[in-house]
């Protein structure tokens, strides 16, 4: 990760846009452009070629999924472009579309609620810039809630671990969160992947993608 991350920010609410820009400046991010709609976002990215794009989903003029479409277009043009999409509500479909875009890495889908914990929010941004994938825990929880087969076969602890894996945490981070040893987490992950019929791998990001791809195929 470069020392200073250059960010293009798209958010139509002026208060929130300025607030976010202020927060980002405090954490070694430089906001090179802050815009209010999808078309301006595309222009700004073309002009600045930033390290990270942060965009709201619902923006003018359509007030539906402007930001998402802009994000998908950016990823189609540059598959490795780091993009974090902020949403006011959970929409698994959007997460799926984002994961399908580009090379499936360096993508983030977060609820706006996450800004209440800035350290975590900034951590998620850094994960994405660093090559990881972050999907909001609420999306993951929603997806896991109704799965009977074969996620239902997972123990509550394994489900907890799976949710954390899906959020993009490493085994060490999960171990810290659950206050267990890293070896125990590794065993859980191995069991999960076995129960879900997925070959074990050390790559965190591929694990996330595999899990979500599996969950996406639900319907």
């Amino acid at each position: 990760m470069p020392a200073v991350t250059r960010v293009v920010l798209a958010e139509d609410g002026v208060l929130l846009r300025e607030g976010l820009a202020g927060v980002l400046q405090r954490f070694d991010f430089t906001v090179v452009a802050a815009v209010g709609d999808g078309a301006a976002l595309l222009d700004a990215v073309a002009a600045e070629d930033p390290d990270l794009v942060i965009t709201d989903i619902r923006m003018p003029p359509s007030f539906t999924d402007e930001g998402l479409r802009a994000a998908l277009a950016l990823r189609a043009a540059a598959p490795d472009r780091a993009v974090v999409v902020l949403s006011q509500y959970v929409q698994a479909e959007y997460a799926a579309q984002l994961l399908d875009s580009g090379n499936g890495r360096r993508i983030g889908y977060l609820l706006k609620d996450r800004v209440v914990d800035i350290a975590e929010f900034v951590g998620a941004l850094r994960t994405v810039v660093g090559g990881g994938t972050v999907i909001d825990p609420d999306v993951v929880r929603r997806l896991l809630q109704h799965r009977r087969d074969p996620v239902a076969e997972l123990s509550p602890r394994e489900r907890e671990v799976l949710a954390l894996v899906a959020e993009g945490h490493s085994n060490a981070a999960i171990a810290r969160r659950l206050t267990v040893t890293e070896a125990a987490v590794g065993k859980h992950v191995g069991n999960i992947l076995t129960k879900l019929g997925l070959p074990p791998t050390d790559d965190t990001n591929r694990r996330v993608l595999a899990v979500l791809a599996y969950l996406r195929a639900r319907s």
Binding site: G19, E93, D113
Partner: protein, 442 residues
């Protein structure tokens, strides 16, 4: 409270405020614009009407003149042969003109677009023959009725201008006072004509009522023969209900947007500020703890507001369409809900159809969770011909009763308002099937 405004001429005639309303003028406009139509119709039908008149003349004298009978029969048959085609433009014009006297919608029956199908309809449909009957009335009865009114109007006009006429024409070149005959009376000076002026003015309201009556009679005949009577009004009622549903939907979207652009944005911004404030506080200070509680509350409030906004107008539905919204609905349900989307189901439907279908599925699933005691439910979405079908099936105890206040009546109303219907099968012991059929074009 002001009395309800009459919506058409016939109702206005019965109102005590008829004379001071705009209706006499509308009646006059209707009657005046009728004159050219009647003139053309009478001219067009004159060969037939004259032959009828001749036949009646002869018949009244007890004579039957064979050539006259033959010509009459031939012309009448010719009218039957081409009359329905002739009547079509008159009917179209008269339907448009009817709005002057009666703005309630009048609808012709469904017509094939053009060509031979149109011709076939001209002869095959009862409404075509009703239009011909209207044309015949326009060429026979209407000239007589309108002439009577014209005579009355002329009489009143002459009464009113009589002083002027006498004054204008009062003296001959030889200086002898001229005499003007008004009916059986003779008038020679303007002063003598004053009573006639008064009478003429007094008769104006009567003339207004006569005009109103004739126009109303004409309009009622046009509505009866050219429109489809009560059906048109029923359609209008159905449409007005649909408009009401649309208005409610639009209002909900507006509220949703206001909440999103206002409250949700501000709350997110507030949460961000709380987050920023927390960054600068060491963990173990009382201020940090208070701030953590504030952050937790802000987070709860965001969830609360999101659920509220979702209940008002589900964003998933507006953004992604019905199949995605139903899957989202299934995800939110405490039950294990399977969503099956049939082949041919599109992603997007008209807003009204989407909203009603979603509302139906949401309400039905809500009922299942609350009353059915079921563990699983299935939502099926299918598109057959021009109908979108939503079925919610559960494995619960059944016995759902629309009279039991389970929201089924409200659901049926909502479905009916967009021209659909709700079917329910719920034997005691289950299972329950709610089926909603909504008309929609593919």
């Amino acid at each position: 409270m002001p009395a309800e405004q009459p919506h058409h001429l016939l109702a206005a005639l019965a109102s005590r405020r008829f004379l001071v309303s705009g209706w006499p003028w509308r009646a006059a406009a209707y009657v005046l614009t009728a004159l050219p139509v009647i003139g053309v119709a009478a001219l067009l039908l004159s060969p037939v009407t004259l032959s009828w008149a001749a036949t009646f003349r002869f018949a009244a004298d007890g004579r039957f003149h064979l050539p006259v009978l033959a010509v009459t029969a031939f012309l009448t048959m010719a009218l039957g042969g081409v009359g329905t085609v002739l009547a079509a433009p008159f009917a179209a014009l008269e339907r448009r003109r009817l709005r002057i006297a009666d703005p309630r919608p009048v609808e012709p029956g469904p017509r094939p677009a053009a060509g031979t199908a149109w011709l076939a309809a001209r002869y095959g449909e009862a409404s075509s023959w009703q239009e011909l009957l209207y044309l015949v009335l326009l060429g026979t009865v209407a000239p007589i009725a309108y002439s009577l009114l014209a005579f009355a109007a002329f009489l009143v006009a002459v009464f009113i201008v009589s002083p002027l006429l006498v004054w204008w024409d009062g003296t001959d070149l030889d200086g002898v006072a001229d005499t003007i005959a008004l009916g059986p009376w003779q008038v020679t000076t303007p002063a003598q004509a004053i009573p006639y002026l008064v009478l003429g003015l007094a008769l104006l309201p009567v003339l207004a009522y006569l005009t109103g009556l004739l126009a109303a009679g004409h309009a009622a005949t046009a509505r009866a023969l050219l429109g489809h009577g009560e059906q048109a009004e029923l359609r209008e009622v159905a449409r007005s209900r649909t408009r009401l549903v649309d208005a409610f939907d639009a209002e909900r979207r507006r509220i949703e947007r206001d909440l999103h652009d206002g409250a949700q944005h501000r709350l997110t911004s507030l949460s961000l500020q709380l987050g920023v404030a927390r960054l600068d506080l060491p963990d173990d200070t009382p201020a940090a703890q208070a701030l953590d509680r504030a952050r937790a509350e802000a987070k709860d409030l965001m969830v609360l507001l999101r659920d509220l906004v979702h209940g008002i107008s589900p964003q998933t539905l507006a953004d992604l369409g019905l199949p995605a919204a139903l899957r989202d609905l299934a995800d939110r349900s405490p039950l294990d809900v399977t969503v099956a989307v049939g082949p041919g189901v599109a992603d997007r439907y008209p807003t009204r159809v989407e909203n009603t279908a979603y509302f139906a599925a949401s309400e039905a699933l809500g009922n299942v969770a609350k009353h059915a005691g079921a563990a699983t439910a299935t939502v099926r979405l299918a598109h057959r011909h021009d109908t979108l079908v939503v079925e919610v099936h559960d494995d619960g105890r059944g016995g759902a009763d629309p009279a039991g206040g389970t929201g089924l009546t409200g659901l049926a109303d909502r479905v009916a308002a967009v021209g659909g219907r709700l079917l329910l099968s719920s034997p005691a012991g289950g299972p329950t099937l709610v089926r909603v059929e909504l008309p929609c074009l593919p």
